[in-house]
């Protein structure tokens, strides 16, 4: 008899259904897995054999073939272990509910002792199970909270293979779910009140938060660039439930979701400047990269010129389209990447260029080379550029996050309803700036959008010349 179980594999963020078929036959004892399995799937044979033994089941004596259908897709990972074990148990006659097995998905790794272990991407799999109309999903207890977030099909979270068999056979009650995770996810962001001085930079951060603009901060080490960047997510409105589900699904697919996490808040990703192209945009195994991990949140690139050039250029497509396509041997997937880019850089390699008190030791050629590392097209994609000079660390802290976030929230509502129109005077000023070649073609558009955000921040429905002039003062591309 051919037994069939249902499982899923993850291509990017999309869970694809896999039918796990098992057939025991006569002949020499041999256990084969077919259907383009990768190394981890091949190794499932050993885990399944041992888990069955530990659970007190005899392994089929003759030949045993497991097929992962559709056969043309290359499968990877250890999430098929449970489905393979259940299909083998059914074909061997230990589990006598083949119809139920076809209606309940299984996504868990097995330990040699038969315990269920968590896998990545369970949230996406639960959503797929809902679309397929399955009755329930067997997952490891560590994945139960995450699975419940999807709110689709019943979550069955046995701790052991024996228990899974009993649940399917109906001889044991469905195990109770762990207490639902706290609505949590509202990561506590540091407060703007901690930032002393830096009025102009604070203002730029506020505008960036209100308009979702990309921001480049230029200043010497220790002037507070990173501090400001880390406070930006706190100014953004909480994600909508749909957005929160998206954010959480991505973290789940990347295996970065804690066992008891609820829906996540807006992410803040700060990859190190040694990050490769694959780490930034996604790798050969179709795992999401940093641009996707930062979806609906902030991607912070500190020491921007230190990033390798290909990595930076690879950011251009996601910046423009809000998504990124990864095409590799394993297939081609489109991943969401709608993030806000915040970058920081020193004015020169030693960081002292222009410092009034200390002397910069950088040779002119080295300075030029440092700045040339950021291509014009990339620089053009920063709507706002602001200098963050080193200041004396005295004076009172500034406005707290709550006060700034209130203005940002109001401005976002205004912008969502209707973007403020450009007044005649503002229009003339913009044309003047374009004529004097202060702005590129893209720059004109960006300056206009920033001016609209500034107008919205002051509650106006029309862009006044002052709004536009302020927007021009943050224009990017004037690196020395």
């Amino acid at each position: 008899m051919i037994a069939r179980a249902v499982s899923f594999w993850l291509a990017g963020l999309e869970a694809r259904r896999i039918d796990v078929e098992a057939k025991a036959g006569r002949g020499l004892p041999k256990f084969t897995v077919v259907g383009l399995p990768d190394r981890a799937v091949q190794e499932a044979r050993e885990r399944v054999r041992s888990a069955l033994g530990s659970s007190g089941f005899s392994f089929p004596a003759g030949g045993l073939v497991v097929n992962l259908a559709p056969a043309k897709e290359r499968k990877e990972g250890s999430g098929f272990d449970l489905a393979i074990a259940l299909a083998v148990l059914t074909t061997a006659g230990h589990l006598r509910s083949p119809d139920r097995l076809r209606r309940v998905g299984a996504a868990a790794e097995l330990g040699l002792d038969g315990r269920l272990r968590p896998v990545h991407g369970v949230l996406a799999m639960m959503e797929a199970a809902g679309r397929l109309g399955l009755d329930g999903m067997l997952v490891a207890p560590e994945n139960a909270a995450e699975a419940a977030l999807a709110g689709t099909v019943a979550v069955l979270a046995p701790t052991h293979l024996n228990e899974a068999v009993a649940v399917l056979a109906g001889t044991a009650p469905v195990p109770a779910l762990p207490a639902p995770a706290s609505a949590g996810g509202d990561a506590v962001h540091p407060d703007m009140a901690d930032v002393r001085g830096q009025l102009r930079a604070r203002r730029a951060v506020e505008i960036a938060a209100a308009g979702g603009h990309n921001l480049l901060m230029v200043g010497p080490p220790g002037s507070g660039k990173t501090m400001l960047a880390r406070r930006l997510p706190g100014l953004l409105p909480a994600p909508t439930p749909g957005e929160a589900l998206e954010i959480t699904r991505i973290a789940s697919a990347a295996g970065e979701l804690a066992a008891d996490a609820g829906l996540l808040g807006r992410p803040f990703r700060a990859p190190h400047h040694s990050a490769s192209v694959a780490a930034l945009v996604g790798n050969a195994r179709l795992r999401p990269g940093e641009v996707t991990m930062a979806h609906r949140g902030v991607l912070f690139l500190d020491e921007l010129p230190e990033f390798n050039r290909q990595s930076l250029e690879a950011l251009r497509m996601p910046l423009e389209d809000g998504e990124v396509r990864i095409s590799r041997a394993a297939g081609s997937v489109l991943l969401p990447a709608r993030f806000q880019l915040i970058a920081a850089m020193n004015p020169c390699p030693c960081g002292l260029y222009g410092d009034p008190d200390r002397e910069c030791g950088c040779a002119p050629q080295r300075l030029a080379a440092y700045r040339a590392r950021i291509s014009g097209p990339l620089l053009d994609r920063f709507d706002l550029q602001v200098d963050v000079p080193r200041v004396e660390a005295h004076g009172a802290g500034g406005e707290p996050t709550t006060a700034v976030a209130l203005r940002v929230g109001l401005a976002r509502q205004l912008l969502a309803e209707r973007r403020p129109a450009l007044g005649d005077e503002a229009e003339a000023l913009l044309r003047q700036a374009a004529d004097r070649r202060f702005l590129s073609g893209r720059g004109v558009d960006r300056a206009q959008r920033v001016a609209q955000t500034i107008a919205a921040l002051s509650g106006e429905t029309e862009v006044a010349p002052d709004h536009l002039a302020e927007a021009l003062s943050y224009r990017a591309g004037s690196l020395g």
Binding site: R200, D355, C360, P364, A469
Partner: protein, 284 residues
């Protein structure tokens, strides 16, 4: 390309005051009349690694003197030299560059764009035949030509051992005026200029000082004079936050005012976010 021989018509008489005037002068550019400039000629020289303040000063002095009718001469090196040429060009005036290599060799490469603009609007001069590659020993020799061609030499930023001081020495030997811009004593880029001042050089703090030395009338002042932000920056360059405090303006108001002045070419910012009067006059 033109060659002028010593003791032939057209050879600039000022060079004959040198004890070793070059036998031939190689020129690139059409404006040969610049060699017979009748109004004052000022050389503006200084460090190749000058800071933004020094570069801004060089640009401002060159622009102001050129606008008042002086011919600006320098050596097309990085830093102060380039800023001086740029300042003169920004005033819509010609400028003369004396090279330490063949007049057709655009060196240093960074200044290729500037070289092309001087070629169009000014004159490139060298004592070396076309195609001569730059060599370290040719640059100090070139400095004596700069000094000889000028009525006055302004040193903007120079360390204690700087090529610009060689130019000043030649100027002194030739009886030209030697002028210097003072600097903060602890700043190494002020060592050379302050030493010149101590030895009796004329002190230059502004375009007015320079034009006074050259005997030139200042042209009509700029248009946005009534602007309080511009007035404050003329008083003292500063960072936006500090200016907000000084002028009692919100960051938003100040940013708008700064952008307007920058658009009008009245002010520029250095690489550190400090604003100052003057125009950036970028090559691109």
């Amino acid at each position: 390309m033109t060659v002028l021989c010593r003791r032939r018509p057209g050879y600039p008489g000022r060079l004959l005051e040198l004890h070793d005037p070059p036998a031939e002068l190689h020129l690139c550019g059409e404006h040969l009349e610049l060699l017979a400039w009748e109004r004052p000629v000022v050389a503006i020289v200084g460090s190749r690694r000058a800071g933004d303040a020094g570069l801004g000063m060089a640009r401002q002095l060159a622009r102001g003197a050129a606008a008042a009718g002086a011919l600006v001469v320098s050596g097309l090196a990085l830093g102060v030299d380039a800023a001086a040429h740029e300042g003169a060009l920004a005033a819509g005036a010609p400028t003369l560059a004396v090279l330490g290599c063949g007049p057709d060799v655009a060196y240093p490469r960074t200044n290729r764009g500037l070289y092309a603009r001087i070629l169009a609007a000014g004159l490139i001069v060298s004592e070396y035949p076309p195609g001569t590659e730059p060599a370290p020993w040719r640059f100090p020799a070139r400095n004596r030509l700069i000094a000889a061609l000028a009525d006055a030499v302004v040193v903007v930023e120079a360390k204690v051992r700087s090529g610009a001081l060689i130019t000043a020495d030649h100027a002194l030997d030739l009886g030209r005026d030697v002028l210097a811009v003072p600097g903060w004593p602890a700043f190494s880029g002020a060592g050379g200029t302050n030493a010149l001042l101590k030895a009796g050089a004329g002190l230059i703090e502004s375009v007015e000082d320079l034009n006074g030395w050259l005997g030139l009338e200042a042209p009509a002042p700029g248009s946005a004079d009534g602007d309080p932000v511009l007035a404050a920056l003329r008083d003292q360059p500063g960072y936006p936050d500090e200016l907000s405090a000084r002028l009692r303006l919100s960051p938003a108001e100040l940013s708008a005012a700064l952008a307007r002045l920058e658009l009008g070419g009245e002010i520029c910012r250095d690489g550190h976010g400090r604003w100052m009067p003057g125009s950036a006059a970028r090559a691109r």
